[in-house]
Structure formats: structure tokens, C-alpha cells
Symmetry: C6
Subunit: 80 residues, 6 copies
């Protein structure tokens, strides 16, 4: 792992819109993978493994759902 | 992955009814898969894999439950 | 998947009792499976697969727990 | 599955103590298994399968943790 | 399973510090395993199985995270 | 397992920034692994196992997401 990777772009959970919050959830979940496996060559080899595996795609969906729950709460669900 | 896919239809978590909120949860979970695997041909090949696999169907149910929890909270559970 | 399946019976998360809320959690989790795999013949074939598999029964339990958490919050935990 | 199985003993999430709440979480998670697989003979055959499998015991622990989270919130964490 | 095992040491979720809350989360998750598999001989045999298996160690981490979420909320996050 | 391992660095969930909270989530999830498997030699052997396995990296991401949800709530989402 690497301590030098930025884990939250912009260092905030607040976003202007739900769409941006969802994109942040995806980015945050990827950055944990990056911090755990900083070797880009290995990550590139793993990409087709998960991207063509139904079970792993579903698991990625669960991770993003968990991250998004936190981001949505932080933004008070973008209620007007 | 693709940065160009819309992740939240309508860019809002607010829906008129629980039924619409549930449908949104399903759509949002599918859009994460689409953003992670943008190649429609590969996604089509994976569809019968998960749709005929009991464990994966259950895992999809967990993902939708997680997404719906956020949507339901956003809508204050559609309490009158 | 089918867009024509009702995902939340009665289109409400509110129930008179915890017991009814729990039954709703079970129904909602099954309806996601039905919407993802609308072919009743395939679902019938999968039933003995998960119903006689300890790991899948446990996973079903996790799904119901997640759905119930949302329903219980919606009902303010049926506190008097 | 059977619709005749009681899913929540006492039809309430409220308990006098955390210990009782924890026991309720265990019971509720087992009753979902029972409702999904009502055949006691099959459930008896599955018992040694999960009770001697480390991964399944851990998964049971996750289920109970999820159920307990709801029960604890319902009881306002048994704060005095 | 055994109904005679204490599931929550001290019968409270309240702890003086986050560190003690975290230790309680670990203990509570282990006590569910103990209650589900009360035979100490079998549990001893399973210990090296999960303690040397990366996937199971990660799953244990998820369980503790879930338990801790409840304990932390109970303690209002130990905010001053 | 070892009772002597510090589980929460600084014995607090409060951090100055989201980025620090995210780093704490990663550390806390690793310390549970350490407390469950205190033998550093075994942990070192497991590192390449999970760091080169797509499914385990995703599972680690789920763990961190769960821990971070608690930390973010503790910090009131670092709202100004």
C-alpha cells in the first residue's frame, strides 16, 4: 500500500449534485484499490478479470452503494 | 469504465412514490455496472450468467437493498 | 428484467406491525429477483438450489436484514 | 417458503436489555432461514454444514450484526 | 447453538473510549460464532482456517465494522 | 488474536479532514486483521494473495467503505 495516494479528490464529501456524488463514490472506491495495490501494472492486469466477471461487477456495485450512502447523507440527500 | 454514462437518471434521489424509488434503486445499480463495463457486448454475455445463478441473483438483491436504503432516507420514507 | 413487475406491494413501506414489516422485507427482496429474472420456469429451477444451500440461505438472510432496516426506520421502529 | 411462520417473536423490536436484543437478532435471522426453507429435515442436514465452516460462521455473524443494528436503533441503544 | 452464552459482555453497548468500543465489537462478533458453534474443539480447528485465509480475514473485518457502527452510534461517537 | 494491539490510532474517530478520516478507515480495517492474525510472518505471506486478487481487493473496498461510514458520521461529515 501507499500512503501517498490522495483518497478523496478535493478532500470533501460535498458535491453540487447527486450525479457528482455518485461519480465521487466510484472514484473513492477505486482509490482504495489503488492505495491497497499501488502497482499500476498489476491493477491493469486485474481490470479485465473483474470487468468480465458478473459476480465481481455486482460486488463493485455493492461497494459503490456503500460509499454513496455516506456521500448522500453528507449532502443531506441534495434536498432543496 | 466510462465517465460519460449518466449515473442517476434525472440527477435526483427524490421520487413521488416508494415504487418509483425502488425502480430507481434498480436503475442506479445497473448504471454502475454499465459505467464499470461500458462494452454492451460483454454485458449482454454476462446477463444469462447472473440471471440464472441463484447466488448472483441474491447478491443483486443486496445491492438494490443498499441503494434503496439511501433513496428511501432521501425521501424521508415517503411518510405523509 | 421486466419493468412491469410491482416492486413494493401496496406502494408503501408503512406497516401496522413489525411482523408485517418483516414479511414485506421478504416480499420486496423476492420481487427484485423476479424483476431481474422474470422467467418463472428458471426461478422455479433455482429454488431448490438456494433453499438447500447453507451459504445462499445465509445470504438471503443478509438481504432481508438490509431491507428490513429500511422498513423499520420508515415505521420509526413501531415505537408507541 | 411458508407464510405461516412467525418472523418476529413477540411482534416487537423492543427489548429490556442489549443482551435480549442480541438474542432477538439471532432468532430473527434464523426465522428467515426457516421461512425460506420450512422443511425441518433439510435444515437439520444443513446445520453441520454451516456450523463447521469458518466462512459461513463469519457470514452468519454479518447477518446478526445487520439485524442487531436495527434492533439497537429501535431501542435507542438502551441508553438510560 | 447454545442459549446460555453471554452475547454482550457487561450487557451494555456503552464504553468509555473508542478503543474499548472497538474491542467490544470484536468480542461481540466472536460471541455470535461461539453461540452458533458452542463446541470449543470445533472452533479451535476452525481458527487456523480463517486466520490464514485472506478472504476470511477480510470478511471478519467487515463483521467488526458492522458491529462497531452500532456501538459507535450508541456512544454518540464518543464526541466530547 | 492479541489483546495488546491498538485498534484505533489516537483513540478517537475525529479527524480534521475527510482525507484523514479515509486514511483512518484504512488503518482501522487493517488493525482488525492484525488483531485477528498477530503473526506478522503469516500476514506478510497473505499480502500478495489479496493484493493481486480482484475479488479480495473489492472486498477490502467494502470494508473500508463500512468503516468510513462510521467515521464520517462521527465527524458530522466535516460540514462547515
Amino acid at each position: 500500500m501507499s500512503e501517498n495516494i490522495q483518497l478523496i479528490p478535493g478532500n470533501t464529501l460535498l458535491t453540487a449534485t447527486p450525479e457528482e456524488g455518485r461519480a465521487l463514490a466510484m472514484k473513492m472506491s477505486r482509490l482504495i484499490i489503488k492505495a491497497t495495490q499501488p502497482d499500476a501494472t498489476i491493477r491493469e492486469k486485474l481490470r479485465p478479470v473483474y470487468a468480465e466477471d458478473a459476480a465481481m461487477l455486482i460486488a463493485i456495485g455493492q461497494t459503490v452503494a456503500l460509499e454513496f450512502a455516506t456521500i448522500a447523507a453528507a449532502n443531506n440527500y441534495w434536498r432543496k
